[in-house]
Symmetry: C2
Subunit: 351 residues, 2 copies
């Protein structure tokens, strides 16, 4: 379904030399040097000479929203109704992610992948902001049955890919992903437990801030789901314990990499989608930059599975893509130094 | 010489309530919530009602440059001549800090506090960018004698204060500090060793990347300086082991706090200036935000002395104010969510 090219490393040494000849000790810009090199590799595919300036064009945040049957167990700080309320808040421009996208000049869209009650037409706001591509009225309760059918998984991958491709057609060469869905840390934790073969206890955390009793129940429900002993084939895992927003993010990630653009990955939930995408197509990893380390306890272990070192660690536990939006200025700084900083010879520095 | 008002905490609970009523779980924006609260406290001094929007106006980066007698021992990756070459690079706009200030819309100035050879008039560029307020031709070698006189310390504090005050007069309400000076991690480490009463071994690191032999010599020279057994009175410490750029940064920090504006502190060297300022006037601490944790090994311990949790940890070891410039978008995001994010009641969210 997706064809993802591994990055062409032919000019990697040349890109590295550009970075090392800037007026600074080698390596002294830390993670920004890694970002500049990765962006150079992604953006120079097929170029014969590595002398093109890097560019970030029309960075676009897609926030995928969906509801989760498992939320009926009360293992989140809020009921499922809040997913829909937050979608309306996104459309109205009042959420944290709206603020950060405005501050950092990021185009913003929110996608209903299957919240319980769809928005009425008069609530959908500007078609430039809201996209409806629903897979159902929330997933089924994955603690007792599969969250969705394999057909829904296939449809979700295609719809997510479509959203990414539409942004790319409009000029976006950097996709940022975020999510909203009451209950979705449970789904992400179950995906991670299955794919990493770790017990739920190692993979489940406090989400946006549940209490100890809710945490015990959350672990119990995820363990219960895992006793179904389904295969760890990525699409099966999505069907058994995934979420509509997670499935569509997997499709968006794979489509973006297929189109040769960079994806900036947000926190725990988006990383779970990245992990699934990686298991489906390992080449996707080279197109991914990880924005931040979430406060969710298993995020660090999940990042380790992806050999990912995130840019920020601000103690965020909100989701919505907030970490990715906040990390964009680091990529812009990486592009800026790569393109515009003097070299030792151009600046007449004699080190 | 400086009069710094402790922050008025009368409305702290109201500011906290503004933050907690935003459409997010309490605390879920992590360090950005701390920043918003601190900016609210700083910016509302004397206001009767806490309903004013936060604002960051004309953020200004002052990069203080100076040379160090101790650099003659070859304990840096570059000779002192590079300080002057980098000042020219700053004026030409080719350094990393120039790139990051352009990307993040920060006004930029570089200040010659006493590099060995002053710039010729025709090399000084735009007076809007270059400021000359020299305390000498580099400090004396502090391993064998005091780096400067107490009169130079007093003069440096006044000059640094003057630079900050001029920026504030032009409308700046957020000062960012950076530095350039071959050898200045030695000075910062010696200041820290003296003020924290720790052995040099715990306070000295690799700077921008020296080798093991240079590290041994760097420690030996700092230990030698500390055997002079001078007092730990802040001005004495500056005179014995300080640097011209460090002294002027102490003055700038104190003047900014006296004027009631926020200072964004860069890495190891600027933090050493913040620590000296704090020892002189503990109230200054409330006006300081710490931008990043440097790769320099003792920076974490130095931050702990100031009870400071920095915003970023990007593996930077360049100085110049790069960490502060990169952290500014986090403060702008904090202001944005404080001012513009919906509250639960305004968004109709029922949690």
């Amino acid at each position: 379904m997706f064809t993802i090219n591994p990055l062409n490393k032919q000019y990697q040494d040349e890109f590295k030399a550009v970075i090392d000849n800037k007026t600074k000790p080698p390596g002294s810009l830390g993670l920004l040097e890694n970002c500049a090199l990765q962006l150079a590799l992604i953006q120079h595919q097929g170029q014969e000479k590595p002398n093109k300036a890097l560019v970030i064009n029309k960075p676009t945040m897609l926030v995928f929203a969906g509801d989760h049957g498992i939320a009926a167990h009360g293992i989140s700080i809020a009921p499922s109704a809040v997913t829909r309320q937050m979608v309306l808040n996104f459309i109205a421009g009042g959420a944290a992610i709206n603020c950060f996208c405005r501050t950092n000049n990021i185009d913003f869209k929110v996608i209903d992948t299957g919240i319980i009650e769809p928005l009425a037409a008069d609530k959908q706001g500007d078609a430039e902001v809201f996209i409806e591509q629903r897979l159902g009225q929330g997933t089924r309760d994955f603690s007792v049955e599969s969250a969705m059918t394999l057909a829904q998984v296939e449809q979700g991958l295609a719809l997510g890919a479509n959203a990414a491709e539409n942004s790319i057609k409009q000029g976006c060469n950097l996709l940022l992903l975020g999510e909203m869905g009451i209950g979705n840390t449970s789904s992400a934790a179950a995906i991670f437990a299955k794919l990493s073969q770790q017990p739920a206890n190692e993979c489940v955390g406090l989400g946006t801030g549940i209490d100890d009793q809710q945490l015990v129940e959350k672990k119990r429900l995820i363990d219960l789901a895992l006793t179904r002993n389904f295969s760890d084939q990525p699409k099966t895992v999505l069907s058994e314990v995934g979420g509509f927003e997670i499935v569509q993010m997997v499709g968006a990630i794979l489509a973006a990499a297929q189109a040769g653009i960079t994806v900036l990955i947000d926190g725990f939930i988006v990383t779970s989608a990245a992990l699934v995408a990686y298991r489906m197509h390992p080449e996707v990893r080279e197109y991914l930059i990880f924005a931040h380390q979430s406060n969710e306890q298993a995020h660090l272990a999940m990042l380790a599975e992806l050999n990912a070192e995130p840019l920020l660690n601000l103690g965020l536990r909100l989701g919505e893509g907030t970490g990715a939006a906040l990390a964009l200025p680091m990529l812009q700084a990486s592009v800026s130094f790569y393109n515009d900083m003097a070299s030792f010879s151009s600046a007449g520095i004699t080190v």
